[in-house]
């Protein structure tokens, strides 16, 4: 019963013989996938159909007559070889011919044409991406680099948000339905904007984003959608229907955080500076008006005249009749009350009503003295006097009447 054990090499040699001699040279038709033109000049790719695939190599010395691209249907002539060191078999391609355009491309172009006709790509129906969304939906694979890149980018730029992550199948069977469902789920979760996408991959990997089902879900969504599928060069149907296309998931994360935390901090600084400047401006304008009283010359002249008249009345009163005197005393009282009224016009009286006076070196500023940035003045208020550095000055809009 027991057979004699063979070495791995012997078994591999037997397989190699069976495959290489048994199959020999073949002509194979299939679809190109994962085509890589290595810097060495050799080309590595996969030939596939609906259910199977075979790794292929085309050495540098052999040149195809066209530029191979993923998705193309090609006819390849070659032979099966076994790479013993890794226990792998592959098709060594001698020549390659295109067989029309690949089925996937045909399907892609047809769907694109249909949807364009139905208005799915109309620029007029593109919604604006909110500038400062609070809830950001993400539909992508939970395990890929894409989701990490997006969360890290959002954290770095604007962490004051909630990310609603809907783990989503992004390739293979059922992926299209799941993407469509994820869009509806995120819509129900009341996000302000959503990103659907995935990292790079082969055209088959990205295919779930090229279906009518996904296009319909994007089209029907009430929430603006950014599509970020694969790399810069990958374009999917989802990209055309979405409100905005981002070259990569990271770029999408940047688009939903167009306003960064630093931007906002800076604008708060600007606004508060402007507020302070406005209020300082207003107060200095008021004290300018108060300053015209503080100047005092007008007041002094009036007071002197009052005193002179009072003196004259006094002189006269001693000489004229008491009847006249009463009359004169009456007039004096009137003058006194006028003087009391004037006292309320004392330079510092407005302070009790919330105004302030601008002084320099203890003296009120002259009317015609123009303040300049860098000047240091004292602002005297009822309760305190502050030393103030002038930041900005503008000409007053109100000219005080002299």
């Amino acid at each position: 019963m027991q057979e004699e054990a063979v070495s791995v090499s012997e078994l591999t040699h037997a397989i190699k013989g069976l495959l290489e001699e048994g199959i020999g040279s073949v002509v194979v038709v299939g679809e190109l996938s994962n085509f890589k033109h290595h810097t060495s000049g050799h080309r590595y790719f996969t030939l596939k159909d609906a259910t199977s695939q075979i790794p292929c190599v085309m050495w540098r010395s052999r040149n195809p007559s066209f530029r191979p691209e993923d998705g193309m249907r090609v006819v390849v002539t070659g032979k099966v070889t076994v790479y013993a060191a890794q226990g792998k078999y592959q098709l060594d391609c001698i020549s390659m011919q295109p067989e029309g355009i690949g089925d996937l491309y045909v399907a892609f172009e047809k769907l694109k044409r249909d949807l364009a006709e139905r208005g799915y790509f109309d620029p007029s129906r593109k919604r604006r991406i909110p500038v400062m969304p609070q809830r950001i939906g993400i539909a992508t694979s939970e395990t890929g680099a894409a989701v990490r890149d997006m969360i890290t980018t959002i954290e770095r730029r604007f962490p004051a948000v909630t990310i609603v992550l809907r783990p989503t199948l992004v390739q293979g069977e059922g992926a299209s339905s799941d993407i469509a469902q994820a869009i509806r789920d995120l819509e129900a979760a009341r996000v302000d904007v959503m990103i659907i996408g995935r990292g790079g991959g082969s055209i088959e990997d990205l295919w779930s984003f090229n279906t009518l089902e996904v296009a319909d879900a994007i089209f029907a969504s009430a929430v603006p959608i950014i599509s970020a599928v694969g790399h810069e060069t990958d374009v999917t149907i989802a990209d055309f229907v979405a409100d905005m296309r981002a070259a990569t998931p990271t770029a999408a994360a940047e688009l939903v955080t167009a306003t960064t935390l630093n931007d906002i901090m800076y604008s708060i600084d600007l606004v508060t500076d402007a507020m302070s400047a406005s209020i300082a401006d207003h107060i200095s304008h008021l004290s300018e008006i108060a300053g015209s009283f503080a100047d005092g010359r007008a007041l002094r002249r009036i007071t002197e005249r009052m005193q002179l008249r009072a003196q004259r009345i006094q002189d006269l009163s001693s000489r004229i009749s008491s009847a006249l005197l009463r009359n004169i005393q009456q007039r004096r009282r009137e003058i006194d009350s006028s003087a009391a009224l004037l006292a309320t016009l004392h330079p510092l009286a407005p302070l009790s009503r919330g105004y302030a006076v601008v002084e320099r070196n203890g003296k009120p500023l002259e009317m015609d003295h123009v303040l300049e940035p860098g000047d240091i003045v004292q602002v005297r208020r009822q309760t305190e006097t502050s030393t103030v550095l002038v930041q900005t000055t503008q000409p007053s809009t109100l000219q005080s009447n002299q």
């Binding site: 400062m132 609070q134 969360i151 959002i154 954290e155 962490p159 004051a160 948000v161 909630t162 990310i163 609603v164 992550l165 809907r166 783990p167 989503t168 199948l169 799941d178 469902q181 509806r184 789920d185 995120l186 129900a188 979760a189 935390l261 906002i264 901090m265 604008s267 708060i268 606004v271 508060t272 402007a274 507020m275 302070s276 406005s278 209020i279 401006d281 207003h282 107060i283 304008h285 008021l286 919330g354 105004y355």
Partner: protein, 69 residues
């Protein structure tokens, strides 16, 4: 949830709008001094609250189940 630290029921965007509003009111300078001082103080408090809120802000990640709703 970082939401709890929001100073008022207004969203950050609404608060920033109010700040802009106050700033332009002060810029026009049509209100009486008392009123101006009042909204100036409101604006300064709002700015302070916004800064504190942003300083503390952290991304919250909510995960929806993959089975659909």
């Amino acid at each position: 949830m970082s939401k709890a630290t929001a100073p008022t029921t207004l969203s950050l965007e609404q608060q920033l709008k109010r700040l802009e509003e106050i700033s332009s009111l002060l810029d026009r300078g049509e209100l009486p001094l008392d009123e101006q001082l009042k909204i100036y103080e409101e604006g300064m408090l709002l700015a302070k609250a916004c800064r504190e809120y942003l300083d503390k802000a952290q991304v919250t990640v909510e995960k929806l189940s993959a089975t659909g709703s």
